[in-house]
């Protein structure tokens, strides 16, 4: 099914049936009950629909992980690449085929640990694509090992005494590396997340969105964080929309993570910076 021309900019949650754009023959899907990745997938599909992006002209490039497995369910041109490398694959694809709309789906381990260097340079290089990083604080697919975004003191299979490494703020990294568009949102508010992703898709250049997902079955269970509903509620209460400004923070929630559009600037896209090749002038000698 193709996303039709001329659909209205906003469709209600009831009107948008994500199943129309999924490879339903692969269902049942593999996600655990309550996994936040499912809500993230719904939001990214809804945003595609509202932005009128044709499934034929879309290319979804995924890394390896539970997050990376999402691509297979999208009825489009989907690429399941190698662990940590989807941004590098996507860079080649986007440069070779500027007519395609390139979306990368990656996880916190995929994007920040093994793929950290590629993220830095994708932000800096500014090739037109959207990177959606599903941060569930853990290596879900491999059974719950510590990740660069695991909160302090949390238990994972490789931090039996609690995590002692500091947590990585991916949005700050993306901003520092020069990304023109950076945003963060929780999965609890799918329509808000959808609106943020739409803005990222629309951005001409490299856009980075951290989606605060959750791994209910492994991370949640291990740390006794409750069921899915409790996990996303506590996630929500640890964040605060950027649009609220700084005043509300102090003195109540100085450590709350900001959500929403965190950076939006104007930078020339990679291809707009093409320079004609200058012939080297021989040095004139007297």
């Amino acid at each position: 099914m193709n996303i039709q021309e001329g659909v209205q900019a906003h469709v209600s949650a009831e009107e948008f049936d994500v199943r129309d754009y999924m490879r339903l023959d692969l269902f049942p899907h593999f996600l655990c009950p309550g996994c936040g990745h499912g809500m993230a997938l719904r939001a990214m599909m809804w945003a595609l629909y509202e932005n009128n992006i044709s499934m034929d002209k879309l290319a979804v490039v995924c890394g390896i992980g539970c997050s990376g497995r999402l691509g297979a369910y999208i009825d489009s041109n989907t690429f399941h690449t190698t662990h940590g490398r989807p941004l590098a694959f996507a860079t080649g694809l986007a440069l070779a085929r500027p007519d395609l709309h390139v979306v990368v789906i990656t996880g916190d381990g995929d994007c920040l640990a093994i793929g950290g260097n590629h993220l830095i340079h994708a932000c800096r290089r500014n090739v037109n694509m959207t990177c959606l990083m599903l941060n569930n604080e853990v290596y879900g697919m491999t059974g719950g090992q510590v990740s660069p975004t695991t909160s302090a003191d949390r238990y994972t299979t490789t931090t039996p005494g609690g995590n002692r490494e500091p947590v990585f703020d991916a949005c700050k990294l993306a901003e520092a590396a020069g990304a023109g568009f950076v945003g963060r949102e929780v999965t609890m508010q799918v329509p808000t997340l959808k609106d943020l992703i739409k803005e990222a898709y629309d951005y001409n250049g490299f856009s980075f969105v951290e989606i605060m997902s959750d791994c209910t079955e492994i991370f949640g269970r291990k740390n006794q964080l409750g069921e899915s509903a409790e996990m996303i509620l506590s996630q929500k209460s640890s964040t605060r929309p950027d649009s609220y400004g700084t005043k509300v923070d102090d003195p109540f929630r100085p450590n709350a993570l900001k959500t929403g559009v965190l950076v939006k600037g104007v930078r020339p896209e990679y291809r707009d910076m093409n320079r004609p090749i200058q012939p080297v002038q021989p040095v004139q000698k007297d």
């Binding site: 490879r23 692969l26 499934m55 034929d56 002209k57 290319a59 490039v61 691509g71 297979a72 009825d75 489009s76 041109n77 989907t78 690429f79 399941h80 690449t81 190698t82 490398r85 590098a88 694959f89 996507a90 860079t91 080649g92 694809l93 986007a94 440069l95 070779a96 085929r97 007519d99 395609l100 260097n117 590629h118 830095i120 340079h121 093409n274 090749i277």
Partner: protein, 380 residues
């Protein structure tokens, strides 16, 4: 279009770049490393002239990934590197083999292992080129021995890669990479250039990895409406991951059979004065040129010696080798490593004829004198 030929004095690495352009390569992603950097440098200037794209990535892992990404988009693409970078490319090279994504990798060999001797020649990546990435996988490796051959073998590398949907490595040593020779730059006719088979027909019924007579399925170009899934996971004919034993076996078996099936197209070698030879030197790259000289010198002294030079290193032209060396009394495998190709030759010969070795791992080339002495010793 008719072939345009011009004579030019070019460096080996430049010939690789020009061969790529002539073959229709329109995307290069790389990372600088001696002694291969001239390929990237030349293409940085040449690609924009023909509407292509050059990008210097953050490392070799990324450049291999971007090369494959561009090819998945339908553009002929390549990367170039040397030992340490070739090690980094192995992960995604396996992905290209598994997903049957055409791509060309030039590996200009320096002294190894590790950072080794960056500006000295070596031939120590023979086994890595074959077995560098994990698992059973198909790969083609071409070993040109002159600047002209780098040009023509790079074109052939693209053709084989497109035709068979297999990654192709163009493997040569630093000496040939930095050698200047006057060569004919022949622009291939359109009908001498091969483009991969593209999917056509009803998108609904399309199976991206269906069995075909030639074992090479057509590829779906993103944007053409086929909407296929590409994965390095073992996949079924629909392209989706499978762990069903029969399907998994079938998928990998076809990948490997593909090369056997097209052996005639892939194989290439040169046999010099082997018909009546008592001793046959087996060598490739710059070592083969020293061997050629040694054969000429010895022949003028009446010594019956020949040279077998594999141009396609992998899959090794085994049948041809057996035929050519069948009547010889001895074989000398000469290579600038501690003994790699010789393992394959010993396997093929299985004791008959006897196999001797000449090796160097000091960053110096093997000379005709050394080879002449080795032949005389073997014959005495």
């Amino acid at each position: 279009m008719l072939a345009v030929t011009k004579r030019e004095n070019v460096q080996g690495n430049a010939a690789c770049a020009l061969g790529a352009i002539a073959a229709g390569c329109r995307f290069f992603a790389g990372y600088p490393i001696t002694p291969s950097s001239e390929i990237a440098e030349r293409l940085a200037g040449e690609l924009p002239k023909v509407g292509g794209t050059f990008v210097q990535m953050e490392d070799e892992i990324a450049s291999m990934a971007a090369t494959i990404g561009a090819s998945l988009g339908g553009v002929k693409s390549m990367t170039a590197t040397s030992g340490p970078g070739f090690s980094l490319k192995q992960e995604n090279l396996g992905y290209a083999a598994m997903t049957e994504t055409p791509c060309v990798i030039a590996n200009v060999m320096r002294g190894g292992p590790s950072t080794g001797m960056p500006t000295r020649p070596g031939q120590g990546d023979i086994m890595q080129a074959r077995w560098g990435t994990h698992g059973d996988h198909p790969i083609i490796v071409l070993t040109p021995a002159s600047v002209g051959e780098i040009y023509s073998e790079t074109i052939r590398a693209f053709n084989l890669s497109e035709r068979l949907r297999v990654p192709v490595v163009v493997l040569y040593d630093e000496i040939i990479g930095h050698l200047l020779e006057t060569i004919e730059l022949t622009t291939p006719d359109d009908d001498q250039l091969i483009d991969r088979k593209w999917a056509s027909g009803d998108a609904k019924d399309f199976l991206p990895y269906a069995d075909t007579d030639d074992l090479v399925p057509p590829m779906a170009r993103p944007g053409d409406g086929y909407r296929v899934h590409t994965t390095g996971l073992t996949h079924d004919d629909r392209g989706f991951p499978t762990q069903v034993p029969e399907k998994a076996e079938h998928a990998v078996t076809r990948l490997l059979d593909k090369l056997d099936h097209h052996a005639e197209l892939i194989e290439s070698y040169e046999a010099v004065m082997c018909e009546d030879a008592d001793v046959i030197i087996t060598a490739f790259g710059i070592t083969a040129r020293a061997a050629h000289k040694a054969v000429k010198n010895l022949r003028s002294q009446g010594v019956k010696v020949g040279l077998f030079r594999p141009i396609t290193m992998w899959p090794f032209p085994e049948a041809a080798y057996k035929k050519v060396t069948g009547n010889a009394k001895a074989i000398i495998v000469a290579e600038m490593n501690a003994g790699q190709l010789v393992l394959e030759i010993e396997r093929i010969c299985a004791g008959k004829p006897e196999v001797h070795r000449v090796n160097r791992i000091d960053g110096e080339v093997i000379t005709p004198d050394e080879l002449q002495a080795a032949v005389k010793e073997v014959m005495s």
